[in-house]
Amino acid sequence: MQTSTFDRYQSGDSPIHHLDPRVKVIITVLFILSNALIPDGVWLGFFLALMLVLVITGWAGLTWSFALKRSLIVLPFTLAAVTIIFSMPGSPLGIIQIGPWALIPTDTGLIRFISIMFRSLLSVQMAILLTATTPFPDLIHAFRHLRLPQPLVATLSFMYRYLFVLSDETTRLLRARRARSASLPGKQSGGPLLWRAGVAGNMVGQLFLRSLERGDRVYQAMLARGYTGHLYTLNPHIMQRQDWLFAGLASAYLLFIQVVCRIALFY
């Protein structure tokens, strides 16, 4: 089982770990929405949002750079936004010569790019904290309490169950392929590209058929053990005083960020 590769949960005993998952899900979504509504270039707003991320990281007993480091996964995508630096109308900041092309970055373009960056990094950081402090079954529980469509929630919970089984199956398929693909040093094993793609395709087909059959067996076994369509968790999930308190304080803080941003726009 490769539990560690799929589950990003960091077990702990902090106040954040003990919060009701519903509260955590809602505050995460509100936080991301709040980031989306911070206007371009209002750095104070982004700073206040970062403070919330750091405070929650501290409360959760994680090292302060935990979410910051992991949030770097969005960086490759920022390539898509780089062009905005040079295309937004605004006052030019100079000329960058790359071969025959001259790129002219503008101040508004740069401000917009950095703002997009911040919005994205901060949002991902909060989502990372959510999964790091909440076990996946508890998240599913929260989705159910939050009235997400039942078939979708149930599909998600089943998917999580099977994920480990099927990834083991896939690892075995990949290992078998590797074992049969001996090659001399410096030479690629196997046939040409088309052939290699065909082999990968057959493996996917194989995996599909095995999944269907295995899924049926697992389902029968679960029924036999009393599965009724619910995933149980040891945490009771009743909203406590501290849950309401945290939800209230965090939403008030998010509202405060928005108000500060609107005021900052005038100066």
Partner: protein, 327 residues
């Protein structure tokens, strides 16, 4: 090390992170996605009853796991699957939408691969568009020879990736996050290559299933999963991609001009981030107010269109509802 290999930055993915789409665009696509997913669950529940969720769950896990299967291409890069078209071909359009929704949601929640506020757009690009194209084209080959079917699958898989890339670039552009001129040709260029990998793996998988379990892909199965109207849906989206992709990458200026003429571009870049600031402050700007109204009308129009489409689709494939589940 699995997660490291699939989710490495070297593998360009279509998952948009939070912060890259503006709020209005993100919400419009959430709305569209919710409509499609709720139709999908309703239709599927009628067909499968209580067996629905275990089956969809394992199939979602299958798509997730099959994305791990890669093949070396060159220079350390590797081809792997997105899976939308494959899901549509083996499962039918509605099941594919539900399964891909679960996959994309799990990727966002477990790995932060794709944002939460923009998840609607991600599901639309990689789950809904791919399912519509995938099943539409495959449906058009129903009753034909094995070779025709495999050609349809190949085209469907490649086009599904292109449709996703096209729609992603357009969303980024409408959000004022990118310049079409550079991003569109780059995105389409990269994904034209990624699409080849997708097509090869998908066709390999389908050929394998056709050989070992032909009953799963029989003609009756295909027609039971959706009526002829799907051919039209698939055809229209294909046509859109085929016409729009070259136009957008060769002359993005043209597309920008069209948008500008429609009064679309200027509002889109300025409005969304000032939409709420002005909203919360007493003196409303005239242009902002008009943007808000225009946005609301747009959302309603899109929702109405989708509902209408859904109703016609349901009517068209009503007979399947009374069919006994075959498994």
């Amino acid at each position: 090390m699995i997660s490291a290999s699939i989710f490495s930055p070297l593998n360009p993915q279509l998952h948009i992170p939070d912060g890259f789409l503006n709020t209005v665009v993100a919400l419009v696509f959430w709305l569209l996605t919710i409509v499609f997913v709720s139709i999908a669950t309703r239709r599927l529940q009628a067909d499968y009853d209580e067996r629905l969720t275990p089956l969809m769950g394992i199939l979602a896990a299958f798509i997730f796991a099959s994305q791990m299967i890669n093949f070396p291409v060159a220079g350390g890069t590797s081809g792997h699957l997105l899976g939308g078209a494959l899901a549509a071909v083996v499962l039918g359009p509605w099941a594919a939408i539900l399964v891909m929704t679960a996959v994309i949601a799990a990727q966002a929640i477990l790995f932060q691969d794709g944002g939460l506020l923009v998840m609607g757009a991600n599901i639309f690009n990689m789950g809904i568009l791919t399912a519509l194209i995938g099943f539409g084209l495959y449906r058009s080959a129903a009753g034909r020879s094995r070779r025709t079917k495999l050609i349809a699958v190949t085209a469907a898989a490649w086009l599904s990736v292109m449709a996703g890339a096209l729609s992603t670039s357009l969303q980024l552009w409408i959000s004022g996050t990118t310049t079409l001129k550079i991003v569109m040709p780059t995105m389409l260029g990269i994904h034209a290559l990624i699409g080849i990998g997708e097509a090869l793996i998908t066709v390999g998988a389908i050929a394998f299933i056709m050989q070992t379990r032909p009953d799963l892909l029989s003609d009756e199965k295909i027609t039971a999963k959706g009526g002829r109207l799907w051919i039209v849906v698939g055809g229209v989206i294909t046509l859109l991609v085929v016409l729009l992709a070259p136009f957008a990458s060769v002359s993005p200026d043209g597309l920008e001009r069209v948008a500008e003429d429609l009064g679309f571009l200027n509002t889109s870049i300025d409005a969304p981030y000032q939409l709420l600031p002005d909203y919360s402050i007493p003196f409303l700007g005239e242009t902002t107010l008009s943007t808000v109204v225009a946005g609301a009308i747009g959302i309603l129009a899109v929702a109405g269109l989708v509902l209408l489409l859904a109703r016609t689709l349901r009517k068209a494939s009503l007979p399947t509802k009374h069919r006994q589940p075959t498994e």
